[in-house]
Symmetry: C2
Subunit: 365 residues, 2 copies
DNA sequence: ATGAAAGCGCTAACAG
DNA sequence: CTGTTAGCGCTTTCAT
């Protein structure tokens, strides 16, 4: 393949040879002019041939295509984008909570990422992945501001609804996975958290549970809505919510463990837990068991997300399933809608209570 | 912000107004010429000011910087890259097994992704994430071939060591997370799978276990090495490996469940399981329990990865910890080394057996 | 059917 | 210290 470089006329070879920074390798990549020279045509023809223009001779088109393939030449997307003033990249931004220390590794995120990646691929778009400090969500606009991406998909509102509104006011094309908030300027796609929380707790109450703990960070809009659902279900059954049973916590397993321990140590009675993620739920169950409490006999547990493990856990976990796959697709559709200039409305995806064994029929003491 | 557009001279405004495709919004993004006009200087000065060139007047520099900030102007990275012939993007490619249907959602991948993202961010590089069919790993080179990325980090060799060698022969700057294979032309970074498998099984044997099942897809180089470690430990203790105890399976929870059921149904005796991922191990434990088998009393279990849940599972899971965080950083370091033209050697990261409760002291029947 | 030339947004000589 | 100019790799009029 090296000999190819010898074909360069007008000093191109030398030009390439000189620049040292970072990549002797990167410099060697061949470009359209090389293909043109090898094929004995102009770059215009190569360009047309490679883009399948009907105007070029079929025979030359085939010859050029074959040549390009044989040397693994592919059009430089950056240059093409610049010339065409287009861009086929979407930024997906995953916030991380620097404070809670832990890096997200909840399976939920990966599934969401995968689902977005698929939807983007289907449309021929690339995905630029970045992480931002959950306290500085405004940084999510950077890939857009720098022209790296045509728009942004942000996974979660976290604690900064306000910052997101600012971005929207700035007209950053953006769609956010999360909860629909009043007076929100940006487009959200999310599950029906309120219904999810309500259904979970309704189910627990139906089982005869009365002291239902809530595990989750109420500062997050999504969790707040699940909590609202929790309260509504309690109220509907004339059960007084007990603040001691509402335990704020990030999506970190260690917190669920600590919470269960704490509840038990403080001798706060509870006969059920509604946890805002399956990882929290599973951790809670393990901790209960260590403390000699049976699930579901002593404590019934409902999780959230329906991750892969949920069905295979012992006992199989009752949980609120989020339509993650639909979520990714919906997020992407919504972003393109926004890009097309439409005023996209927030979308709420249905949520489904998957009843398995951690919530069993009424106890028969 | 609209008035800004009125400043455009020589027909720029019209030019922008015309192009309809995809993004009326995208077209509006302002550029260096706009800033120059607003500041009453040339684009060169803006360019210099924004890149912090010491040659420009401090007062103008500050003024321009402030102006740019106030209108959220950021240099167009695409154009900059083209001009500079540089590129600050690395492609991270995650293969998916179209055959086994399931999309990866193993927490392991997300942690690895996060760790790579951090290492890349630290170096000021962006991350382009893509998925490829695990049967067509050669497609992983696309982001490089199209000039989108300077290099590629591939997560896993899967079944196509050969395709990767081809890419390496083509000089695609690439680093692969996986096992070091004989005659490998590309650089790998991976855990010491052999030692990991050996340690896990040595531990089980030390506990008095003799019939140790192996759960994992031996077709994958990494798993094959863990299996080799498994065999070595058995051999060292003069235990004959029983092929019936080696159960091939993808990293999918359902498979672990089926395997345990099958072993029990076929009345194949076993007193331990070494599973190639924590998700498989946890699923196996849950299934054992459903079948009335105690862990670790009847069956001891060792997992792999040490994901977050492992410590919080009940019983807490004994597992082989992979240095995932170090892994991401090492992958990135290795890629830059390759980009710098060095012949980077494969790196093997240490592995650590984390003993928890699923492997308890010898049974006292 | 093909080529020459201009220009996408930016930076870096080179002048002044 | 600042502006003018050329050109990164590509596409697309406009000629031929």
């Amino acid at each position: 393949m090296m000999p190819v470089l010898r074909f360069h006329g007008n000093g191109m070879a030398e030009k390439r040879a000189k620049s040292p920074p970072l990549s002797a390798a990167a410099r060697q990549r061949l470009q359209m002019a090389d293909i043109a020279r090898l094929a004995g045509v102009s770059t215009s023809t190569v360009s047309r041939a490679l883009s399948g223009s009907p105007v070029v001779n079929e025979e030359t088109r085939a010859r050029i295509a074959e040549l390009a393939r044989s040397v693994n030449y592919t059009i430089n997307v950056g240059a093409k984008n610049l010339r065409l003033q287009q861009n086929r990249t979407v930024a997906v931004v995953v916030p991380y909570e620097a404070a809670s220390g832990q890096h997200v590794s909840d399976p939920f995120f990966l599934r969401m990422l995968g689902s977005i990646a698929d939807a983007l691929t289907e449309r021929g778009f690339d995905m630029l992945l970045s992480r931002v400090d959950a306290e500085r969500l405004d940084a999510a606009a950077l890939p857009y501001d720098t022209g790296r991406a045509v728009g942004v998909i942000l996974i979660g509102q976290w604690h900064h609804h306000d910052q997101l509104n600012e971005l929207a006011a700035r007209q950053v094309p953006m769609v956010v996975w999360g909860a629909h908030m009043p007076q929100q300027l940006y487009c959200t796609v999310g599950s029906d958290n309120f219904a999810g929380g309500d259904a979970a707790v309704e189910h627990l109450i139906g089982l005869g549970r009365r002291r239902i703990a809530f595990f989750g960070d109420i500062g997050l809009p999504e969790v707040a809505q699940r909590h609202a659902g929790y309260r509504q279900a309690l109220t509907r059954h004339r059960l007084a919510p007990d603040p001691k049973l509402v335990v704020p916590m990030a999506f970190v397993a260690a917190r669920a463990r600590a919470a269960v321990q704490d509840l038990i140590n403080r001798k706060i009675e509870f006969d059920a837990i509604f946890a805002c993620s399956d990882v929290l739920a599973m951790t809670a169950i393990s901790t209960l068991r260590e403390n000699g409490r049976q699930v579901p006999a002593d404590v019934a547990v409902v999780g959230y997300d329906d991750i892969e493990m949920a069905a295979y856990f012992n006992p199989p976990l009752t949980t609120v399933r989020q339509a993650i796959d639909a979520g990714g697709k919906t997020l992407v559709d919504a972003l393109f809608s926004v890009l097309a200039g439409k005023r996209e409305l927030p979308q709420v995806l249905p949520t489904e209570l998957i009843i398995r064994s951690t919530t069993a029929p009424p106890r028969t003491r």
